[in-house]
């Protein structure tokens, strides 16, 4: 509560406040300073009595008022919101859709040679801090991404921002306990641990449901009869998930969305062109990083397959088992997403998909290693592979040309092979 000027007049009705205070100021012998403080007063609208009992705010003692923000990552923002609000019991700062400015902002403050996701994330953080975020969440990752949290924190501090960082790469060696302690320390010390764990399970469920619906979307949206009908359902599904507060809401939103998807009319040929997208965790999925690769492929009328998503990389990830499927090509775990990339490519080859698209950010070392293996996979299964490298400067036109040519090639081949 603001300090109360001693020269203020006594009790008065709220409706009369402005007039009274102005009058009293005019009458007061002291100058402008006094006047200013009195003019500010009416906004509080409180009785200026010192003996009045302070009204106790009713609040959830397990809630934290800290405003937390994630970076933008694919279509997972409902899950991030759920994680902050339901699991940690804090406030979530929702970011509007990213623009070219976001990327420029991020690129401006990062080294040119750092891989592209770093630039995007940094841009998001700057926008989040400008939107009032107090805690930034960086979930780290199995590659250089694990180090980016600390680097980004330093850059932002050098820029003069004051904030806290919830970085899951810190205390990574302590595993889940270390992460939980970090969350409590940084965001909410009063978090309900038991309920939080249940909510965490339903957050994971949300991620699974998001990915399941996305798989259906990718397989069918390319053949929609009414342009934009799938995207509309997808948007309303995300909206429903953003409003979810319990597992029940997640499941019902999923059911409704899937019913709506299945009810949409599609003109799908019996033998459509099928393309498998493989690549690194960020660029293969994130529409901003890959210049809307999904939308571009779907617009050409392609059935898109993509094994890479959070469900398959984190929730249901079992590297040794996955490697068995690609044992002719990979003998040991090559790195963060390499096994998934190669195993997915081998599976797509076996299933007879028409083409592969390999998406990586510029300078992504693990995926550069994968490219050599993919060349062999492509030769063995006779499936053409398009290698795409994305940077913050990658042009849309160049990508369009390559994708169009790739599609033409697959379509002509399919036409010729048709009995």
């Amino acid at each position: 509560m603001a300090d109360i000027p001693t020269g203020a007049p006594g009790p008065r009705a709220p409706g009369q406040l402005p007039r009274q205070s102005t009058d009293s100021t005019m009458a007061h012998p002291l100058g402008a300073l006094e006047r200013a403080s009195v003019v500010v007063k009416p906004a509080t609208g409180r009785r200026p009595s010192l003996w009045e009992k302070r009204r106790r705010r009713r609040r959830d003692k397990h809630h934290s008022a800290k405003k937390c923000a994630f970076f933008r990552y694919c279509y997972y923002d409902p899950a991030f919101k759920y994680f902050i609000e339901q699991v940690l019991g804090a406030e979530y700062v929702a970011l509007p859709a990213s623009t070219k400015q976001t990327t420029e902002l991020g690129a401006q403050h990062s080294s040119d040679y750092v891989c592209t996701p770093f630039k995007h994330i940094l841009g998001d953080y700057i926008e989040a801090l400008d939107a009032g975020a107090e805690v930034l969440v960086q979930f780290g990752g199995p590659c250089r991404l694990g180090y980016y949290g600390e680097l980004q924190e330093r850059i932002l501090r050098d820029m003069g921002y004051d904030f806290e960082m919830l970085n899951f790469s810190v205390d990574i060696e302590k595993g889940a306990i270390g992460w939980a302690k970090q969350c409590m320390k940084v965001v909410n010390p009063n978090v309900k641990v038991g309920a939080g764990l249940l909510k965490l399970a339903s957050c994971a469920n949300m991620v699974v449901k998001l990915d399941a619906a996305r798989d259906f979307y990718l397989a069918n949206a390319g053949f929609e009869r009414e342009r934009g009908s799938f995207a509309r359902v997808w948007e309303s599904y995300l909206e429903a998930l953003r409003a979810a507060t319990a597992d029940r809401d997640v499941n019902s939103a999923y059911r409704e969305a899937m019913d709506a998807f299945r009810a949409l009319p599609v003109d799908k040929p019996a033998d459509p062109i099928r393309i498998g997208v493989v690549g690194e965790m960020f660029t293969a999925i994130d529409e901003r990083s890959n210049l809307e690769l999904d939308a571009k492929l779907l617009a050409m009328g392609v059935e898109v397959h993509r094994m890479m998503n959070l469900t398959n990389r984190w929730i249901r990830y079992n590297e040794p088992n996955l490697r068995v499927g690609a044992k002719d090509y990979v003998g040991y775990d090559m790195g963060p997403t390499s096994t998934l990339t190669i195993a997915a490519a081998v599976r797509y080859g076996r299933e007879g998909l028409d083409g592969l698209v390999h998406a990586k950010s510029a300078g992504c070392t693990p995926e550069i290693d994968c490219a050599a293996v993919l060349q062999r996979v492509a030769q063995d299964f006779e499936v053409p592979c398009l290698y795409l490298t994305f940077d913050a400067q990658t042009s849309d036109t160049g990508l369009d040309t390559r994708l169009e040519a790739f599609y033409d090639m697959l379509a002509m081949k399919k036409e010729r092979m048709r009995p």
């Binding site: 490219a371 006779e382 940077d391 040309t401 169009e404």
Partner: protein, 352 residues
Amino acid sequence: MSDAATTRQAETAPAAPGTEGAAAQAPEAYLGIDIGSISTKGVVIGVDGAILARSYLWTEGNPVQATKNVVDELHGQLAERPVRIVGAGTTGSARRLVGAMLGATVVKNEITAHAVGTTFLHPDVRTILEIGGQDSKIICVADGIAVDYAMNTLCAAGTGSFLSSQAHRLGAAVEEFGEIALTSKHPANIAARCTVFAESDLVHKIQVGYAREDIIAGLCNAVASNYLNNVGKGKRIEAPVVFQGGVSKNVGVVHAFEEQLGMAVAVDPDGHLMGAFGAALLARDAGPVGEAGTGPFASGSFDSEAALEFTFTTREVECQKCANHCEIICVYRDRDLIDSWGNRCEKGEVRP
């Protein structure tokens, strides 16, 4: 196609002034234009795929004027044996702009156009090497269809523009490069991985006194090895190999490819026109335009004089409806907006 075509021919013949008599009976033909960063190529093909007229001119930073010049030259070549051009295809980096300008039926990327053109002329080809002004690509072919391709990505090293800027430095015309290179007995070894390094290495070799022909031959070798290391990496290059694009006219580079690959490399005399040829073939497959109503195809067949008379202007508008600030290109024929592109969402749509 014959039924529809003949009825249309019968309908349009009296309507089009100045084309009565022999011209109305003239065989159908298709126009293909490939507008690259450096040069603009045009061909007119008959229905059987034979090239009737060909043109190759510099773009000189003005694709619209270059296209007009090409159309004019093609028109001049066809003065003796008149044809009715009933469809057009465009390709190359200015394909969209020129496609809108000509009212083309087919606007295709250059990779597809090259693959279509080359496999038509060389049905048995297995590998197509292509080096143009600013890009280079490799297309692998099996049984007459493209099965794999790659294109230079982040770097334009070893393309035509690199060669021509180095030619300028050496004071030789880039057209003579090939012959000079073949006279060399000991080609200089020039670092080929990167244009910048290649250039500084080249300057060094000049300064220490290498013979000019050795440097030029080294440059040609560098272009070939750079191509094979960057664009062709991981691709199986199998014979027969066809080399095309503007750089294929350089016999020095052809020789370098033959040596490095250890196999014969064929260069088609029309290799530099293959993109335009492919676009024309695709337009042929798409069939005649019909009556477009406006533009050069207003009467159903291409009126090259009208195409030369129209003025085409483009205007760049920065969309202010969100922070993306998309640059929207609007193309006007005389005063009418005929096409626009560049917007990422429907908010920035500009409709003719």
